[in-house]
Symmetry: C2
Subunit: 270 residues, 2 copies
């Protein structure tokens, strides 16, 4: 089973397009997690147990672990999901990009060391830089296309002939780069009009959509713009709005409630 | 003292534009390193001791450490340089790129956890994604511009009006993004004509040039195209050609010899 099949099965099983971002920040963790020997893993495990029947994927962002040397807790988190909820895919959000033998090392990091099902990558170095990731045919490769931040337009929005760079990229990703049918694209929730243009270009390729909630993206607009012809094709990420729904001892139950509400809100527009 | 000042002092002191890439691969290490409890650190320490009077910088590539969980050896390597050769700056080659609070975490990873003097970053997410790095005014931020691989042209070479994307980027980097005068750009040795165009656009901004040696870049062409008006402004990286100059017990002496020859070859064209 390849990544996109695994993702779609999880979407069906949990009736969910929601992905929860596992981005722990020590300053924002509940007291009882901070006192643990493995604060990030303690926090994540409780969040996972509380939401695993409501999501289609988890997305740990690696910088949150790398900033403080918590690689072991990232690994423990992914192992925990793989062991206890093997139907839920893990997208390692790392935005890697390099060439040749170095790109191979990054692919090993994501897929072999951390056993992630998919990894986010940056396309600025071109198609050959992505091959070492794409060659893992059963894994997902999630390419940045149009990011949710205002500065995303600095390069992504530049006009190449009659269309913007991010659309040229979407065409490349949907055609010549996608030999193993394992590409997904990142398009921010903050640009629903551009999300619609990307959907037009890429057919049924799944889109990972950050920027709901804290960043101001609108759920209805995202669904209208981004669903594919089957009513699928979206993985809508929320991190802070779910994992920090309550700062105290009830954080896991509050996260469940927030995830349930967002899943159902998303489904109400499908 | 900011990064570019530190770099230029090292260039003067060692009469060198050479940067050595510390990219250890367990399969290519000499037997005596492989048998060590810290094979990468053992290898790097010997290379550093053998070349510290010949280089203007060291550039460890983080994927080589991350692929096998050797973060502690990367940290030991950078600490070793900082403690024993504090005049030689360390460029952490990580090609990071993300937005907002996540970019802040990556900046903490590079500058606080690893105590690097500079880090390589990917500009695809735009100027605001680079601010958390650029805000460390004493640190160097080395932005990918025109990479050495053939696929680099897929995006970087696209024409925006009358010039290529990588030149638009170079203009942005040299002007509105460079408030703290701590930007450098990456331009591959494999494209000397494009290197000359970048130099024309960016004034005295230093250029980090990979792609000499194993990737086929020509030293004379790079120097002609890339030197600034002061005969400086280049950091020419070699990794495999130096660190694997000899696969046996004499690897450090062979690395010294290879570094000496390349430094002098570079200087012969200044």
């Amino acid at each position: 089973m390849n990544f996109i099949e695994k993702l779609e099965l999880a979407q069906q099983k949990n009736n969910s397009l929601l992905c929860v971002g596992l981005d722990p920040d020590i300053a924002r963790l509940p007291q009882l997690c901070r006192e643990s020997a493995e604060p990030f893993f303690h926090f994540n495990r409780a969040l996972i147990n509380a939401t695993a029947d409501l999501v289609c994927a988890y997305k740990p962002q690696i910088a949150h672990y790398a900033a403080c040397g918590a690689e072991a807790e990232l690994l423990a988190t992914i192992r925990y999901i793989n062991a206890n909820y093997p139907d839920i895919p893990v997208i390692l959000d790392a935005k890697r990009g390099d060439i040749g033998s170095t790109a191979e090392k990054y692919a090993i990091e994501a897929f072999e060391r951390y056993q992630a099902d998919a990894v986010t990558v940056n396309p600025y170095l071109g198609g050959d830089s992505l091959s070492p990731f794409l060659d893992y045919a059963d894994k997902g490769v999630v390419i940045l296309c149009r990011t949710s931040n205002p500065g995303g337009a600095d390069l992504q929005g530049l006009e190449i002939g009659d269309e913007a760079l991010y659309l040229k990229l979407a065409r490349l990703a949907a055609t010549s780069w996608n030999k193993n049918r394992n590409i997904l694209l990142v398009v921010g929730a903050t640009w629903p009009a551009e999300l619609a243009l990307v959907r037009e270009v890429v057919g049924d390729i799944p889109l990972l959509v950050p920027g709901i909630g804290a960043q101001g993206g609108d759920v209805e607009a995202v669904l209208k713009a981004g669903l594919d012809q089957r009513g699928l094709g979206l993985v809508i990420n929320s991190s802070r709005g779910i994992i920090y729904a309550d700062p105290g001892a009830g954080f896991a139950e509050a996260a469940r409630q927030a995830a349930l509400e967002l899943r159902d809100l998303i489904n109400s527009f499908r």
